[in-house]
């Protein structure tokens, strides 16, 4: 009886790991290829038959990036903008989600629709009127132009996500705090927010990524090289006559490393124990 139980469990575990490995291949192989390409010479990337691992490891792409201050500044700009966008979006979204979740008011449905609807125009057509607006507001070629623009793209999802989270938390929680005399604002920050950490983390991550990877508005709303972000920097390597393939790959890899670390760090900290029935009444 015992051995059968263990075997069954062992088989399940084996199947699980096989599935996990297959998934890892699907998700990770292209990225692995990208990483290898970043340490190959441009010519080797196109060699036939294609090889995964480089014949001659070549760090020139990385050397070029690290030794060019303009390129390093791209990374700084991207992080700065993405960081600010994340913090501000979470702030605005938590407030808005509290409103949608805990209150019933006249224009609730319409406002909800409005916020989602702002996603619905293809950015490419918004480009020219948007550009005109930003110039009129004298925000052209500033960090603020990018920060505010990205917030408009990230807020709808953030609000949706946070509203959903707050909806799963029963009102007894709020009331428990408010009975002690605290206002609803306090109920929000003291109670709801800490419990919604998994939601906040995944929303924050998503917001950061959207902001980090955005290209079109980063290109249009910035003018000088010192304001540009990583995606623009990558596109600049796509010259009229030739591409610097390995440098493009290297910039991508460099870009994703810190985000990956951030992701690992936050997930470890907040996932464990959040399921531990914190809402048991």
């Amino acid at each position: 009886m015992n051995t059968a139980g263990i075997n069954h469990r062992g088989l399940k575990k084996l199947l699980l790991y096989l599935a996990l490995a297959a998934g890892a291949l699907y998700a990770g192989f292209p990225v692995l290829w990208m990483a290898c390409a970043s340490i190959k010479s441009n010519r080797e990337i196109f060699s036939l038959p294609p090889r995964l691992l480089p014949e001659a490891v070549n760090f020139d792409a990385y050397k070029t990036i690290f030794s060019t201050p303009e390129k390093m500044r791209f990374f700084l700009n991207s992080y700065l903008v993405a960081g600010c966008v994340t913090v501000l979006t979470l702030l605005f979204a938590i407030l808005a989600a509290y409103s949608f979740s805990r209150y019933d008011f006249r224009f609730k449905k319409q406002l909800n629709l409005f916020i989602i609807a702002t996603q619905s125009l293809p950015p490419i057509t918004l480009l020219i009127p948007y550009f005109g607006l930003i110039t009129t507001l004298k925000l052209y070629d500033t960090y603020f132009a990018l920060i505010f623009t990205y917030m408009v793209f990230t807020l709808p999802y953030a609000i949706l996500m946070m509203t959903g989270y707050f909806n799963t938390l029963p009102r007894e929680l709020d009331e428990a705090v408010m009975v002690d005399g605290a206002g609803n604002f306090r109920a929000l920050w003291r109670v709801l927010v800490p419990i919604s950490r998994p939601g906040i983390v995944s929303t924050g991550l998503y917001t950061f990524l959207i902001s980090w990877n955005e290209f079109l508005f980063a290109l249009t709303l910035t003018k000088t090289t010192k304001m540009r972000t990583v995606p623009v920097g990558i596109q600049q390597l796509m010259g009229q006559h030739s591409y610097e393939w390995n440098e493009m790959m290297a910039m991508s890899i460099l870009g994703c490393l810190p985000i990956l670390l951030l992701f690992l760090f936050f997930q470890r900290n907040f996932i464990a124990g959040m399921t531990a029935g914190s809402v048991k009444s």
């Binding site: 399940k12 699980l16 996990l20 998934g23 890892a24 998700a27 292209p30 290829w33 390409a37 036939l48 294609p50 605005f92 407030l95 808005a96 409103s99 949608f100 805990r102 008011f105 609730k108 449905k109 406002l111 909800n112 629709l113 916020i115 989602i116 702002t118 996603q119 619905s120 125009l121 293809p122 950015p123 490419i124 020219i128 009127p129 623009t149 917030m151 408009v152 807020l155 949706l160 996500m161 909806n167 995944s202 990524l209 990877n213 995606p231 596109q235 796509m238 393939w245 493009m248 870009g255 994703c256 985000i259 990956l260 690992l264 997930q267 470890r268 959040m274 399921t275 029935g277 809402v279």
Partner: protein
Amino acid sequence: MAQVTGAAVTGARLKRLATPYAYLFPTLMLMALLMVVPMIMVVQYSLMDNVITNKHPQFVGLENYAKVFQDEVFLEAAGHTLYFTVMSVIFHMVVGLMFALLLNSKLLGSVPKAIFRAVYVLPWMFTATIVAILWRLLLDPSGVINYILKFTGLAQSYAEWFGSSATALNAVTFVNIWAGYPFYMVSLLAGLQGVPADLYEAAMIDGAGSVRRFWHITIPQLMPIIRSISMLDFIWTMQVFPLVWLTTGGGPIHATEMLSTYTYKLAFSSYKFSLASASAVVILVFSLAIAFVYVKYQKARD
């Protein structure tokens, strides 16, 4: 006996009425300023002729819309966009859910869990330009994917994934699925961890197997999240541009033409901004319809 004056009551009531709006105020202000204004301008453009290229555009009403709907390329693009979007959303969900379930398994230790989680989230970390270029290299006729397929005997010859009208649309959809599933995976994983454990325990006591538990507990619990991310993803995917543009440019011969590439070409290649605006407004209306249905459903549930 507490005496409350009329003014105090009205004051308190006003405060209560205004509070939800106050919480929404920062968001609304930002959206109104930075979105509504340009949107109105685009709608305006769509009702005029010779916008941007001509300093004195004239009002032409719905003429641009008529032209756009009569263009067979537009209709083709609409069809492709629908196919692309629906397939993407479905498979994003399937792959995302599969990975989320795998990662949520209790049989998985915390260290392997962290490693696999990081690997699965990788496709998300790269800007659309790089994803497009990377897959163009991988799916090149003499690229590594074809080589592996031939080597393992799964294919007879080198397929032209992006270059052939038969496979281009599916190739582009495949790449989009790869690039977009982490969004679902992360949201669903967070959702899975929010499902109360006692629900499962109760079901197990009642003798429900894992499949039944999945369909009757997991899925219903995840439904709100599934609905909202599907809707958002649907709207976003309808507008996907750099991925398609940089891999196929809408070709071969319109095989992968999407509403977004169609609009872009009208605007920046033909300089017909009025028509491009009309096309954009059409996309806007479709998206609004979906958003409307979603919000209505939400209201009904509440």
